[in-house]
Every structure is written in C-alpha cells, then in structure tokens.
C-alpha cells in the first residue's frame, strides 16, 4: 500500500514490522524516582517505542503497581509540565509517546496540550479513557500537529467496531490483552492473542498487545500473533524495587526472547 501519507512514526514501525522485527514498548511512569535513567536504559537495550505515563490522581485503567508509581510521582511533585521538561533532556533515539488520562488533556486544552507534547519531542498519545465516540476534538488537534493518537481496542468490542477503531488509529493499535486493568499476571490471557488476531485481519496498522503481558515468556507467546508488546507493570515494578539498571536488564531480556521467537 501507499504509505507516504503516514506519520513518520508509523512508517518506521511498519518498516520494522515488515522486516520481521517484533516491536517492544516499555512503559515508564514519568516523575517516578529514576524515570529518565530508566528510559535511557530501555532505549539502549532494544526498545522500539517508549511509553511515558503522565501520573493522574484517578487512574481507572491501572492496577496496584502503576497506581502506586503514579501516587509516588505525584507525591514527589510531578506535573505534566515537569515531566515534559524532563523528556526534553533525554536525548534518546527511540520514539516517545505519552499515556495520560483525558482530564490532563481536557484541563490543558486540546490544542495547547498537543503542541506541548510536540514541542517536547513526543510523537504519540495513548488516552485510555477517551473512547472512539469522544475522541473527535482531541484527534483533530493531534492530527493538526502531526501527533499520533494511538487508539485502544478491547476484547469486548464487537466485530463491527474494530475496523472503526483501527481506521482512527495512528502509529499503532493498542490491543488490550485482557478484561481488566494493568498489572502482572501468572499467564497470558487467551483474550490477548484472540483480539490481536481479530485486529490483524482488519488492519495494516501495527498491532501491539498491552495490559497483562508480564514477562519474556508471555511476550514471546503474544508476539506469535501480534506485532509487538507493551511492558508496563513488569517494568515499573523493577524500577520501584531495584532502579533503572534493572529496567535495562529486563528490556534486554525481553528483546532477546522475542528476537529468538
């Protein structure tokens, strides 16, 4: 297909995918102690995209680990502005996207927030409580400045909904791995591969599974169907328990595992 209209961010991900590489997207809560070093460590150890969480007081899609990380960051005084300032100092070679709840966007104003992200070097945004039907005004503002809006698709979506979600997705489609919130699980849910498979049938946008992919073995399993995986709670827990070096080691481990297949 003609990809010349795509955002450079999406073109890059598609090219990697088409070359046979599985995409690895570590998540780090912005403002959490050691977060900038954790991002550098992830970038140096094989991340294809890094997702930076902007902590929110009421994170309804997050389980205990990311809730705790968000609260710690907020208690330390993190704000969207302070985190974006930190992002500017990162100097990493990997595309950066943010994950934030919609009130952060709404409060700043769509246009203003979109341009703040772009100015900080962010290429995309994931807003988990902004579903397709409510996304119009934000998407217009993001499109206007060349920022990718990464849409989420959920296992509960009927078949006729998925193509509409994918049509609005830029960069990649975030395929929600299970019915539930972020956090580590002992096994990869069956819904993870099922939904990714359904999405692959209806879109050429890269399909990346997030929520409930908890270790390198689960990452390998998820990548049998999907184009890549997000690693959230497993990364954040290591950052809180052991620091940025542990994040680097973990990202390297997952990288090696999915490269080996």
């Amino acid at each position: 297909m003609n990809t010349s209209n795509l955002l450079p961010f999406e073109r890059e991900l598609r090219a990697k995918r088409d070359a046979g590489r599985k995409l690895l997207v570590p998540y780090v809560t912005g403002g959490l102690s050691g977060w900038t070093d954790a991002i550098r460590a992830a970038a140096a150890n094989g991340a294809d995209v890094i997702e930076i969480g902007l902590p929110f007081s009421d994170p309804v899609m997050d389980g205990p680990i990311i809730q705790e990380a968000s609260q710690r960051a907020l208690d330390d005084g993190a704000t969207p502005i302070s985190i974006l300032e930190g992002v500017r100092t990162l100097d990493v070679d990997v595309p950066l996207v943010v994950m934030c709840y919609y009130n952060t966007v709404h409060h700043a104003g769509h246009e203003r927030f979109a341009s703040q992200l772009v100015q900080a070097g962010i290429v995309g945004a994931i807003i988990p409580d902004l579903p397709l039907e409510e996304s119009g005004p934000w998407c217009a503002a993001a499109d206007a400045v060349g920022l990718a809006t990464i849409m989420l698709a959920a296992p509960t979506a009927p078949d006729d909904r998925l193509p509409r979600v994918c049509a609005r997705a830029r960069g990649f489609v975030y395929s929600v791995g299970l019915l539930g919130v972020t956090g580590e699980r002992t096994e990869l849910a069956a819904t993870a591969s099922q939904l990714a498979g359904r999405l692959k049938k209806v879109t050429d946008v890269p399909v990346i599974i997030g929520v409930g992919v908890s270790n390198s073995a689960q990452a390998v399993e998820a990548c049998k169907v999907a184009d890549g995986i997000v690693q959230g709670a497993s990364v954040v827990r290591r950052l809180m328990e052991s620091g940025p070096d542990a994040v680097g080691a973990y990202v390297a481990e997952v990288r090696a595992a999915i490269d080996a297949g």
């Binding site: 929110f56 007081s57 009421d58 994170p59 309804v60 899609m61 389980g63 809730q67 609260q71 907020l74 704000t79 969207p80 502005i81 919609y102 009130n103 952060t104 709404h106 409060h107 700043a108 988990p128 409580d129 902004l130 579903p131 397709l132 039907e133 409510e134 849409m151 989420l152 698709a153 959920a154 296992p155 509960t156 979506a157 009927p158 909904r161 979600v165 929600v176 299970l178 019915l179 539930g180 919130v181």
Partner: protein, 390 residues
C-alpha cells in the same frame, strides 16, 4: 436556552449530553457494556411490564409512596412553612433504594449474575446489598477505608445482607476512590456483572437512568403538595454530593416557578468551586488543581465527600435553573441537632446540609413554602455525632 424549554430534564442527547456536560468517557473495554445498558434501559423503561414490576416492588417492598411531613415547630421558629419529603422512611432508610431496585431489576433482565457498587456513607451500599439479597444476586461493595472506619455500622449491615465489602486504600480513601475501584472491577468482570452506580453520575446512560429511577420522589412530592396546599412550593431544597436525591426531587418541579436549591458541603463544592473536567466517565464540574489532578473533598458527611457532581446539575447550574450554595460543617452540626430537638427526627448528616441552608436563609424566605428532601435517616451518623458532641 430559556427556562421554559421543554427539553430540560428530559432525555439527554444521543451522546449522553446535558448541554455540554455528560458523555461517555470510559475505557474502550466498557463502551459495549454502556451501549448495552443504554439499549436495555431504554427498552425496559418503555415496557409497561417492567414499569409495573418496579412499581410493585417500590410499593410492597420499599414502602412507597413516602409521605410528606410539615414541620410545625421548626417552621414557626423560622417563619416559613417547612415541608419534608420523607425518603428517610423508605426501606433501608434513604432514597437510594429507588435507584437500586430499578437497576437490579434491570440487571436481572439483562442476565447479569453479580452486582458491584461503590458507597460513601454506606447508604447506597446497604441498598445495593438489600436489593441483591432480595433478587438472588451476589454483591460486592467498594468503600473508601476512611468511610469504612466512620460508618462501621453500615459495613456490618452490608455483611449481614450477604454482601462482600472491600475497603479501598488508594488515593483519598473515600467515595471517589471507591468509584475508581468499582470501575476497575467492572472492567475485569463486565460480562457477568452490572455496575450499580449510586448517583446521577458516571458515563451515559447512568446520569439519565438513575434520574429516571428517582423521578418518583419529585412526582409524588408535587402531587402531595398540590393536594395538601393547593400550590407548588416556593423553594425545593436538597443536599448534593453526586446529586441523586436532588435530581429526583427537582425533576418534579423543574417546570414550576419553584427555586431549586442544591446544597453542597463547603469542602466538596464541585459546582461552587470546580471547573469543568472529566473523571468517572463524565464531563462535569470538578474540584481539580491547576494540572487537572482531582482534589480531595472534605466534609463531615461521607455521602457528600465527592469532588465531582452529576452532569445534569452542572447543566442546571450553567443555565441558571438551579442554584448550588454551600454550608459549613459547623452549620450542619447545628442543623442536625435542631431537627432532632424540634421535630423528633434525626436526619442523615447529608440532609442536614439542606436544613442548614434553610435555617441560614430563612430570614429571606419569610412566609414561603419550602420543600426539603429528607433523603435519609440519621441512625448511621449517631456514633459519629456522639464523638463530635462529646
């Protein structure tokens, strides 16, 4: 928009908006469930059989219609005619049962097996546990850890009714965090579970559906006032946390000349001090900081400790049809005792907010008829008041 506009307090727009408020800001996982709930409610509400079933259970189980009571002593003292709508006399002791019986009947009709609910003071939790027991469904109630402590009696009551109560330790550990945790549960259990939201808040269709289930309060009160006094009241007053009891009684009088007053706690004044924001699935007035972080509400009453407000209240405020003044905890403590001593009625601390406003503003309402929604009884608050009053 003019006040006489017929659309006020009718159906919200297709996207669930009341003016610019409302909507459906939920994780993608919950969108199909909200759509299914909307379709099911719409279908049931238009079905005479469902309406008859609900009317019957409201009558034979909840004890409707609730009476109105004129407060002769207190009215004489304040120089007004003070009339109470006695939602405190419903089974389980508050207006919450109206909504819960409606939602649990609907959930059963939808084939759900399990109910989750959030609660602040415990009134909605007790009502949910009650309806679940009545209709043979399992029930889990999320309650902020702070509220579990100050409303221990209601926690035990829910357990007696067979519900599981989980204390929520995240965030401010009050009502807003209980809503977060109930939503997280629902995200994981949506196929078998109905989220029985306790106020006129949350994503579409909840604000509309919950209002319809509480419309009975205003409908009865309007008829009762006409029958008793031959006219509509001059003021209709109710406390507002999320705002369900206020919406219920306002709905009966929105097309009259009555002034509609929703009283918020000074420490949880979403309309009075908030700005439009989005949390818990809705766009509405919200107490938040300069970056959009939701602020904690502080009030003496657990049921009003909520930094947001139902979107229809935001709309009624924005068009000037209803007013949302605040009262302080100290005024509430006074009003609580005043009603007990002069009328022999112990009100819930939530409703004491409405009375606190009435007693403060009575000099400006001399000779007027003031209808107050006594939305709950105060038994649950007696322990807390015992500590406060020593």
């Amino acid at each position: 928009m003019s006040i006489s506009d017929q659309s006020i307090m009718s159906e919200p727009s297709e996207s669930g908006r009341f003016g610019e408020f409302g909507g459906r800001f939920v994780p993608e996982t919950l969108v199909p469930a909200c759509q299914e709930l909307e379709a099911s409610f719409r279908e049931a509400w238009a079905d005479p059989l469902f309406r008859a079933e609900l009317d019957q259970v409201l009558k034979e189980y909840a004890g409707r219609p609730s009476i109105i009571t004129e407060c002769y002593q207190l009215g004489a003292k304040l120089g007004i005619r003070l009339v109470l709508k006695r939602e405190d006399l419903n089974h389980t002791g508050s207006h919450k049962i109206n909504n819960v019986l409606g939602q649990v009947l609907l959930a059963k009709r939808m084939g759900k097996k399990r109910i989750v609910a959030e609660t602040g003071a415990g009134q909605h939790g007790v009502a949910s546990a009650t309806a679940a027991a009545l209709m043979g469904m399992s029930c889990k109630v999320y309650m902020g850890a702070v509220d579990v402590e100050r409303q221990a009696l209601n926690v035990f009551r829910m357990k007696l009714l067979g519900a599981e109560v989980e204390a929520v330790h995240s965030g401010s550990r009050t009502l807003k965090d209980a809503v977060n945790e109930a939503m997280r549960d629902w995200v994981a259990s949506v196929e078998s579970t109905h989220y029985c939201l306790g106020s006129v808040m949350g994503p579409h269709p909840y604000p509309w559906m919950v209002r319809e289930f509480h419309r009975v309060i205003g409908k009865e009160a309007r008829e009762q006032c006409l029958e008793r006094y031959g006219s509509d009241p001059d003021f209709v007053v109710a406390c507002v946390g999320g705002g369900s009891n206020a919406i219920g009684i306002f709905s009966g009088f929105v097309d009259t000349k009555a002034r509609l007053i929703g009283v918020e706690p000074a420490g949880g004044a979403a309309v009075g001090r908030g700005q439009p924001g989005v949390v818990h699935g809705m766009r509405s007035y919200l107490m938040q900081d300069e970056y959009g972080q939701v602020q904690e509400a502080h009030s003496i009453s657990a049921g009003l400790d909520y930094p947001g407000v139902g979107p229809e209240h935001s709309y009624l405020a924005s068009i000037g049809r209803a007013e949302y003044p605040t009262v302080t905890d100290a005024e509430v403590i006074e009003a609580f005792q005043l009603m007990a001593k002069t009328e022999g009625i112990i009100p819930a601390l939530e409703c004491a907010h409405a009375l606190a406003w009435i007693t403060r503003e009575a000099p400006k309402m001399q000779g007027k008829t003031v209808l107050m929604n006594l939305s709950g009884r105060g038994d649950k608050d007696v322990g807390q008041m015992m500590e406060i009053l020593g």
